[in-house]
C-alpha cells in the first residue's frame, strides 16, 4: 500500500512537471506580467507639436482633452500604418488611405479583411481638423477621436475588436513605451482604445494642405501660375466671373472656404428617385433620422481632387469630366437636392439655367487640377514609418 502510494506520488509529480513545462511553453507570447509602474523607466517628456499650415488657413482647432505632442503624433502615425489593428493583421488604415491618392485607395469602394466590399468609397484624409459637422460620408462620428475607433470593429473593414487590439498592443515589444512617451501612462495596463484613438486623431490632424498647389501660388500673387483657361475655371468655381461674361458653376457653395471642404451634407443630384425612400444609400439619414437627409452625403474637400478618383460616395464616376457633366444637368428636381444644384450656368429667365458650354466645363476641370498638392502627399512626416 505504501509502495503504491509512493508510486502514485511520483507519477503525479511527473504529470505536474510536464503540465508546468507546457504551460510555460504556451505562454511564451504572453506579455511580461503587468506590474504597477512597469513603464516608468521610459522618460515622459511631452513636447508640443505645432501643425504646419498655410498662413491664410484658419487656426486649427485642437480639443482640450487631446493636446498635440510630438510623441502623440508619432504613435498615431505608427498605429495608422500598422496592420496590428485588423483581426488577421493584414490591414491597416493606410490600406484604404494611401498618401499617393491623397489618402484614398483610388477604388470605387474598399474591401475589408474578409474580402467583402464596402458600400462607400474611402474618403480623402486632408484638412480633417477643420471638419465641423461630422466625419465619414454620413457624419456618424462627431470627432476625429470618435472616427478613429470605428473602422477597427467594422465587420467589413478590419473586423476586429478593440479588446483584441489593446491586448496585442500591450504585448507588443515597443508600443507600450510609445504610449508612455505619448500619454505619460505608468504601466501597460493603462493602454486603452481611447488612447490609441487619441494618438491616431493627432496624426490625422497634421494632414493639412501645404499651400503649395498651383492654385495657392496664384492666390498668393503669382498670376502666371494659372493659364487663362484655368483662371476662367476659377472664376466660375467661385462665382467671380460676371464681369467676364462667365456663368456661375455654383461649386463653392458646397465646397467653400480656403480648404474647399465645406463639411456640410447635400443631396448633390446624383440619382433621379421618385421618393426619398428609393435612395440605395440613405447617407446622412442613417445618422440623423431626418427623412430629408436621405441621399445626402458630406461634401468632400476638393483640394487634391485630381488625385482621388473615382468620385462620389460610391465611386461611380471615373473622371472629373464625368462629374462636371453630371452637375451640368442641373439636378433631377428631387425635393432635398442642394439649393444651388439647379442653377448652374446663366439664367434662362424662366427659372431654368443654361448649364455650361464645352469650353466652360473643360476650364472648370482644368482649374480643379490646379488644386493638386504634391508637396502634401510627398511630405516625409506623413509617410509609412515602417
Amino acid at each position: 500500500m505504501k509502495k503504491l502510494f509512493r508510486k502514485n506520488i511520483i507519477w503525479l509529480a511527473i504529470i505536474l512537471l510536464v503540465a508546468f513545462t507546457f504551460a510555460v511553453a504556451c505562454n511564451k507570447e504572453d506579455p511580461p506580467p503587468t506590474k504597477l509602474g512597469d513603464l516608468e523607466d521610459t522618460p515622459y517628456l511631452p513636447q508640443a507639436y505645432t501643425i504646419l499650415k498655410p498662413a491664410y488657413f484658419p487656426e486649427i482647432p485642437i480639443p482640450a482633452n487631446n493636446p498635440m505632442t510630438k510623441d502623440g503624433v508619432q504613435l498615431g502615425r505608427r498605429l495608422f500604418y500598422d496592420p496590428i489593428l485588423s483581426a488577421d493583421s493584414t490591414m491597416s488604415c493606410s490600406t484604404c488611405h494611401l498618401p499617393a491618392g491623397s489618402f484614398t485607395d483610388n477604388k470605387a469602394v474598399s474591401t475589408g479583411i474578409d474580402q467583402i466590399s464596402g458600400r462607400r468609397s474611402s474618403m480623402a484624409l486632408l484638412n480633417l481638423a477643420y471638419v465641423t459637422d461630422g466625419y465619414f460620408w454620413d457624419g456618424r462620428a462627431k470627432t476625429l477621436e470618435d472616427q478613429a475607433l470605428i473602422p477597427v470593429e467594422d465587420p467589413i473593414e478590419m473586423h476586429n475588436t478593440w479588446v483584441n487590439v489593446v491586448e496585442k498592443i500591450k504585448k507588443h515589444p515597443t508600443y507600450p513605451a510609445l504610449f508612455r512617451k505619448a500619454f505619460g501612462i505608468n504601466d501597460r495596463a493603462e493602454i486603452t482604445q481611447e488612447l490609441a484613438a487619441k494618438a491616431m486623431a493627432q496624426f490625422e490632424r497634421i494632414l493639412v494642405s501645404s499651400g503649395k498647389s498651383r492654385y495657392d501660388d496664384f492666390i498668393g500673387g503669382n498670376f502666371d501660375a494659372l493659364d487663362e483657361e484655368e483662371i476662367d475655371g476659377k472664376l466660375m468655381f467661385f462665382d467671380e466671373g460676371a464681369q467676364y461674361s462667365l456663368p456661375d458653376a455654383q461649386c463653392f457653395h458646397c465646397h467653400g472656404g480656403v480648404t474647399l471642404t465645406g463639411g456640410k451634407f447635400f443631396n448633390n443630384g446624383l440619382d433621379s428617385v421618385g421618393s426619398l425612400d428609393e435612395f440605395k444609400d440613405l447617407g446622412l439619414f442613417e445618422t440623423t433620422g431626418n427623412p430629408f437627409d436621405k441621399g445626402k452625403f458630406r461634401a468632400t474637400t476638393l483640394r487634391n481632387i485630381g488625385l482621388t478618383a473615382p468620385y462620389m460616395h460610391d465611386g461611380r464616376f471615373q473622371t472629373l469630366d464625368q462629374v462636371i457633366e453630371q452637375y451640368n444637368d442641373n439636378g433631377f428636381g428631387v425635393v432635398n437636392e442642394g439649393a444651388f444644384l439647379n442653377n448652374i450656368g446663366f439664367p434662362n429667365g424662366d427659372g431654368t439655367y443654361t448649364g455650361l458650354t464645352e469650353y466652360q466645363k473643360r476650364a472648370l476641370v482644368k482649374f480643379l487640377h490646379t488644386l493638386t498638392d504634391t508637396v502634401f502627399i510627398n511630405n516625409p512626416d506623413i509617410q509609412n514609418p515602417f
Binding site: E59, A242, G256, L284, F292, G333, V335, A339, F340
Partner: protein, 250 residues
C-alpha cells in the same frame, strides 16, 4: 531682520491677487439671451411644411451673424458681444434655440437693445485666418472669397409656387458684403439683475420675406440672392426686413 523678512513675505502675499486681475473690473452678473428662429410665430423646423401666402415651402438652412449686440439706456451702452454666430438648423437636429450667456453685465434697468445684422465692416474686412480657432469668424465655410465678405445670413429652402405638389423651386438667400450690413434698435425694458430671467430674441422668417407694406416677397420671381457683389438688391431688401422680423422679450 527676522521681522523684516516676515513683513516682506506678508506684503508679497497681499500684492499677489492684485497682479493676477490686471485691473479688470469683475463686477456685474451673467445675463442670458435665448435666440430663436420662427416661421409665422411658431418655432422654425428644418424641412417642415409652411404656407407662404398660397405657396407651400420649407426651410432647409437658417444661419446668421449678429454684430455689436448692445444694451441701451440713454447715454449708457453696454456691448454684450462684438460678434455671434447662430445656427438654427444644425446638421444633427431639426431646430436649435441657442442660449448665450454674457458675463459681467452691469446690473440695472435698460430701455432697449441694438443689434447689427451681419458682420460689421471692421470685422468683415478680415478673414477667417485672422481669428483664433473656435471664434465665430474662424468658420471658414461662411466666408465668401468672391465677395471678400462673410455670408451674413443664410436662408435656404424649397417652394412650390405652381402648387403642383412639387417643391422644386430652390430658395437660396445668402446675404453678405458691407452694403448689406444693417443695425436696428428695439425699445424693450430689459432688467439685468442677479437671478432675473434672461431675454428672448426671435427672428421670424415669414416676416423676413414680407415687405414693409405687408405684401409677401415675390419668392417665385426672386428665389435667390444675386451672386454678383455689384447686385445686392435682393440681399438688401431682405436685410431691411430684419427689423420687423425681430421680436425682443423678457
Amino acid at each position: 531682520m527676522k521681522n523684516t523678512t516676515l513683513l516682506l513675505l506678508l506684503l508679497s502675499f497681499a500684492l499677489l491677487p492684485a497682479c493676477g486681475d490686471k485691473g479688470v473690473e469683475d463686477t456685474g452678473v451673467n445675463f442670458d439671451i435665448t435666440f430663436k428662429a420662427t416661421f409665422d410665430g411658431v418655432q422654425l423646423e428644418k424641412n417642415k411644411d409652411y404656407q407662404f401666402g398660397n405657396i407651400p415651402m420649407f426651410v432647409e438652412a437658417c444661419r446668421m451673424y449678429l454684430s455689436d449686440i448692445t444694451l441701451l439706456n440713454g447715454d449708457k451702452e453696454i456691448v454684450l458681444s462684438e460678434i455671434e454666430y447662430l445656427d438654427f438648423t444644425p446638421t444633427n437636429a431639426v431646430s436649435a434655440t441657442p442660449t448665450i450667456t454674457f458675463k459681467n453685465v452691469p446690473e440695472g434697468e435698460y430701455t432697449g437693445i441694438r443689434i447689427g445684422y451681419g458682420v460689421k465692416p471692421s470685422l468683415n474686412a478680415k478673414r477667417p485666418s485672422s481669428f483664433p480657432a473656435g471664434h465665430p469668424l474662424a468658420i471658414e465655410n461662411d466666408y465668401w472669397s468672391g465677395w471678400s465678405s462673410y455670408i451674413f445670413s443664410t436662408l435656404d429652402g424649397k417652394a412650390d409656387p405652381e402648387n403642383d405638389g412639387s417643391k422644386n423651386l430652390s430658395l437660396a438667400y445668402h446675404c453678405g458684403s458691407d452694403a448689406v450690413y444693417k443695425t436696428f434698435e428695439f425699445a424693450q425694458a430689459i432688467h439685468v439683475h442677479e437671478g432675473e430671467a434672461g431675454a428672448r430674441i426671435s427672428f421670424d422668417m415669414k416676416k423676413l420675406l414680407t415687405l414693409a407694406d405687408g405684401t409677401l416677397y415675390d419668392i417665385a420671381a426672386h428665389p435667390a440672392t444675386s451672386n454678383s457683389v455689384s447686385d445686392v438688391t435682393v440681399a438688401q431688401a431682405l436685410t431691411a426686413n430684419f427689423g420687423r422680423a425681430t421680436t425682443v422679450e423678457q
